[in-house]
Amino acid sequence: MKAHQADRFATIMLWIGSLAIVAILIAFLTLILGRGLPHLTSEFFNGPDGVRGQLFNSFYILFLSLVLSLPVGLGAGIYMAEYAPKNKFTDLIRLSTESLASVPSIVFGLFGMIVFVNMFGLGFTILGGSATLALLNLPILVRVTEESLRAVPRSYREASLALGATMWQTLRKVILPTALPGLITGITLVAGRALGETAILIFTAGMNVSRIPFDVNPLAAGETLAVHLFAVKSNPLPGTNADQIADGTAALLIIMVIVFNICLTLPSRWLQRRQLGRNKV
């Protein structure tokens, strides 16, 4: 009977451990939202210390970084999934992608600082920040592209190629549309991660906000929300209500994360349903 007691004990412990994990998450969310939500007023966005500029910069830098990384990331992922033969060269590219994925973000930040801030002499700019952030996006994009293309059944390709389509036509008309839900999920994942990134942007986009509201000049400095939270929490300026700003910013970031997580599941589910429906007709 000892074995059965051990079994029951272990089961209880595993339940407790898992409940603890969920409890930590719930504690996190209630703490952050509970402290921050009351501060999310229009004053918080538009007031003299408002975060309107930071919020705009967050999305602007995210957008530019995706513009820069999507073509290369998708291209490399397509190559790995569809063209790459099994040889040393492919192995090298795979090793590079995995290595790039493991590079700590602060190392990306310093690299961006050497290249964009010092070598090109741009100083802290939205452009330099976006370009460096694009490097962080790249390996994840390559991986999700490769995975979603590999999930497309072989027979789709064979049917298209057998009809005389070229590889490019097959990709464009058959493989990419089928893989679209997976690709969108992957891109949302990348976007969510890029939106919260801080270490890279401190050294490339800087910690200042343009005084012009919604400044789209890519050569202006661009502090994002995440960097702002770091700045107000680590060096609070005297005389400002830094703690309230930090509470509100943290809550805003968490809301953005939750929205992204919802976006992660919804569009792909919708697309899948639409495709299934179309196939039935």
């Binding site: 074995a3 051990a6 603890a20 996190f28 995995e98 973000s105 310093l110 070229t166 995440a226 994360v257």
Partner: protein
Amino acid sequence: MPQRKSWVYYNDRLSRYLFISSAVLVSLIILCIIWFVGMQGLSTFREVSIIEFFTSSKWSPDSGKFGALTFIAGSIGTTLIAILLGGPLGLAGAVFLAEIAPPWVRAFMRPATDLFAGIPSVVYGYVGITVIVGLTGKLTNSPTGYGMLAAGIVLAIMILPTVISLSEDALRSLPRTYKEASLALGATRWQTIRRVLVPAASPGILTAIILAMARAIGETMAVQMVIGNSPRFPDSLGSPTSTLTSNIVMEMGNTPFGSTWNNGLFMMAFILLIIALIMIILVRTASRKGAAR
């Protein structure tokens, strides 16, 4: 007709070259990063001896002392604490999700752990400052609570999703027959988990732990906010100290580019990069071993 055919043909060729060049570009980028950060970092040793950098814990650049041992020890210490706390808890969560959880619990818990992974690291640091340092202050009887324990706890929470999702995948990818054979022999569920499933999935679990360590050692913002940022050797869990990453953030802004001090910070980043690359090679060996079995 022939004209149109050749157009299609060239399009196909062109797209193929574009895809290959994107893949090559990805490889070039990682080489560029190693080269630039490495060159900048290694030029520290024109003025500082390698032995001093790695074995001395005296870091006072104003008086020409460049010993980075404090930061190396701080990084290793916080990472170990994070793995010791987060590893077992994450593994328990993974076993639970793979073997025990009823479907509705799993349907709720899997997205919840994914949400953990999406929380920005500054937000972890913010929670660390607002709550966790108070807790660790009481635990270690230190006035502020900033230090390795606080950083370790924050990191332990941050690595949970990595450990959970990768270990669960490893457990789920095992052939069903392993479990059925063990249960058919009369083993209890726990005996099956401990003696059969976890050992069989160990290459995957090892990969999860290594990747979690890689994330913990490279994590910057959350650690910087709770470590205390004092260049003091970490002799206790509750005293303020520094890690490689936190020190880069603290000092990068105050040092002129190209100075020995600045190069020393780049050297710290280069150490982090080398550690990350070693981890990737370890992961590849672990997964190859798993595949060979």
